[in-house]
């Protein structure tokens, strides 16, 4: 099965991101908002992994020995740091060009990450499983949420962890993520997001339950313009992150 033919991949969306990919690694460039968002996402993943697997928070390579899959890895912004923390990281993206960029960057920075142009469905069909599966800013772009979530959950090992990050379908999210971020601030190219595809936490929770996953936590992610910093909060009306685990055995 080729990547582009998988049911959850929307070809128009894939092409749009491929166009943006080259600037991915410039923290002061076009993708600055993603770089500013990165610490809070990594912090949340780290925290959830420590709690789930009983890891030593003081260890430099805190994720040593854990296998991790980053679905929709883009240029590798999340995959590389997590590999530095010791995880055996596989990054997949439906866009070949993103994979090429991610590979080139990993080679330059000397970080070992397995990159592959593939869909979650393709990996799930191969029977691959990981201790940690990430789907960050992905579910609001897929064509078939149910099919995507089936595949993503199948990729989690029994006892493993899945972490998602996405945008809520609320009027506030429309105002901030579409009008604010795309039209006014131009953090993202116009058309990056389609509000109708945003996913409510309850919908995501339902998909997870259907796949036998146990929801551990939903946290809001909010931006403080004065500090130019994102942090975890109780407000899930716009950006939020969610963690769930698969029962062991």
């Amino acid at each position: 099965m080729s990547a582009a033919a998988a049911p959850s991949v929307d070809p128009a969306e894939v092409e749009r991101f491929a166009r943006m990919a080259e600037a991915w690694w410039d923290p002061l460039g076009q993708f600055r908002p993603l770089h500013v968002l990165n610490p809070v996402r990594l912090g949340y993943i780290r925290e959830q992994a420590i709690a789930r697997f009983g890891l030593d928070p003081k260890a430099r390579r805190v994720l040593d020995g854990l296998s991790l899959l980053d679905i929709g890895c883009g240029g590798g912004l999340v995959a590389e740091p997590l590999a530095r923390l010791g995880a055996e990281v596989t990054g997949i993206d439906a866009a070949e060009r993103n994979i090429a960029i991610a590979r080139a960057h990993a080679a330059e920075s000397g970080v070992a990450v397995q990159y592959r142009a593939a869909s979650a469905e393709a990996l799930a069909a191969e029977g691959r499983q990981f201790d940690i599966v990430l789907a960050l800013e992905i579910v609001e772009h897929v064509a078939d949420l149910g099919a995507f979530m089936d595949a993503a959950c199948a990729l989690v090992k029994p006892g493993g962890l899945i972490v998602l990050a996405t945008l809520n379908r609320t009027p506030k999210a429309f105002a901030l993520a579409i009008v604010g971020a795309e039209w006014v601030l131009r953090w993202l190219p116009r058309g990056t997001h389609d509000w109708r595809k945003f996913v409510r936490p309850s919908e995501l929770a339902r998909e997870l339950r259907r796949s036998g996953m146990a929801l551990s936590e939903v946290r809001g992610v909010t931006y403080s313009p004065l500090a130019d910093r994102w942090s975890l909060s109780g407000d899930t009306a716009v950006n939020y992150m969610l963690a769930a685990t698969k029962p062991a055995g």
């Binding site: 923290p27 770089h35 990594l42 780290r46 260890a59 430099r60 740091p81 330059e108 920075s109």
Partner: protein
Amino acid sequence: MRDGMIESDVLVVGGGLVGLSLGIGLAQGGLDVVVVDREAPASQTLPAFDGRVSAIAHASRQALQALGIWRHLEAAEPILDIRVTDGTSPLFVHYDHREVGAEPFGHMVENRHLRLALQGAVNETPGLRLLAPAAVTVLERRPAAVHARLADGRTVRAALVVGAEGRNSPTREAAGIRTTTWSYGQAGIVCTVGHERPHQGVAQERFLPAGPFAILPMTGSRSSLVWTEREDLAAALLALPEAEFLAELGRRFGDYLGKLEVEGPRWSYPLSFLHAERYIDHRLALAGDAAHGIHPISGQGLNLGLRDVATLVEILVGQARLGLDLGDPLALAAYERWRRVDTFVLGAITDGLNRLFSNDIAPVRLVRDLGLGIVEQLPPLKRVFMRHARGDMGDLPGLLRGEPV
């Protein structure tokens, strides 16, 4: 290591008070650190290397304690009171530490003792390699890493280089970072004075026409003097025979502590102001006097350096815990934003104080006498000044609150 290549996370150039504190803090946070210094460690602690005494503010002491440096200190004298007077005016401001809490304002520490304490802490910090004497001959800041070639042929690779070599930082100059700088035309004469009666932990700051004259309590019945004079006069004073030098000193010091004697050598340091236009560049950060050298009027120079250290440790250890690049421009920008305002404000205040007080024009005298009287009459304003003296104003990194890395 491969073929003389030393792999590290951070390379600190300059192993002085700021450079070593930074190295210790980063290594405690789990980073691999290389500190390079031109001087052999043993020569830096000889009595002739550095005769100065530093006022360690309360917040700085918390950081030194958290870093495990403080317990290696041979001696430190608490400052319990600060008295500020203007020349011979009877008006003065009296800061009593009990007005802001039970802790002293700070401690007077001899730089030589601080250097010894740092070396003690370096020896028990795994992850920190001190290469000294050694010199960086070529520093290449490449896209993904810094490569530093040393004079002995070895190469150090790091994600970030920190320039902490003091005012004449070659790392800063090679990066083409310009500085705003001027000389005050003044020199600070530094010496230790023994006195008959105990100082009772009182620091005196006197604004004499030539500039500030500070009497800082040291262990025993001794005080350290920082005596500001015009550069040419300072040179002449330094050359005076013992008895005449003591007579000049006594005229300014007064007799409130009884008979005086000068202990050990006299030193003179030119006073100047320096502020780097940027604290950061590609995979580069400046810390301590390499970024900012302020007038020593308020004893804040080293404290500012230690605030740089605490901030860099917090940011870089935070980056490493998330697996992020230590040379990330966003992280470096956060360091600069955090430190720059603080430094510039303090620099401007101390510069202004010096200009205001280094003259003997009658109306200016009247205003400042009233000013000092007003500060004394307004407890809230006074508390703000006092908390600045203790160094615990503003949004503080963990180390300055005494939290271990």
